[in-house]
Symmetry: C2
Subunit: 110 residues, 2 copies
DNA sequence: TTGACATATTCCCATATGGGCATGTAATGT
DNA sequence: ACATTACATGCCCATATGGGAATATGTCAA
């Protein structure tokens, strides 16, 4: 089997740097495809494809406005990612503390 | 071009569900490859390969103890992920608020 | 209708993937 | 030295990928 499909979940979807850029831009507000293309400088088909992936995992929503398709970030779908990483928060704070303590001890031994 | 290499960064590395499982298990403490295999039930070569990927993006550290290789999560490397998702925190709280407000209005109109 | 504009989709392709299996390698015990 | 344990690597392969270019679809304007 190959890698899991990028459309399978949010983790896979944001693994792609361009999709992260698009999401970040959309976090500033609703934007049309053309605005994304202008801002980020990717090819239009590329942007459309990435938006499709983001849409399938519900990381963005769309609505039509005339000939424009207006996309916006659905932050709610990012929460699971945030929560997953939060599980390690306690751990890294602890690990940072250990590093500091080791540094202190080293200093005292001089 | 194909997708970015899974070894390129933490985002890609954790896009793989099995690697997330391994990381979570390692968050509970230092473990040998065999313990991971036992606990998660993956094939040993598979575990070794995933650990290699995690190691390359520094999501884990290793040390040798006799014939055992002891891996542990390097939570510090997960922080960038956490911080990236945090950028959307304000947004999803806001969006949740909107949803609530809409619900309130709807209720009042009944 | 016709044409221009805004997006989406399709096709092709080089490349990365992860699983399964076999095999290689390092450390230990005898 | 040799067998055993504990991992790591290599190889093969089906599959998903994302870019580029061309083309299709949909909407509005005259």
């Amino acid at each position: 089997m190959a890698r899991a499909a990028t459309t399978s979940d949010a983790f896979n979807a944001v693994a792609e740097p361009r999709r992260r850029e698009i999401l970040q831009f959309l976090a500033t507000g609703e934007r049309s495809v053309g605005e994304i293309v202008m801002r980020l400088g990717f090819e239009q088909p590329s942007v459309s494809k990435h938006l499709r992936v983001l849409l399938e995992v519900k990381l963005v929503d769309v609505r039509r406005d005339g000939r424009h398709m207006l996309y916006r970030a659905n932050a709610e779908a990012i929460r699971p990612l945030h929560e997953w990483t939060s599980r390690f928060e306690r751990l890294w704070k602890h690990q940072l503390l250990q590093v500091k303590e080791r540094a202190e001890k080293k200093k005292q031994m001089e």
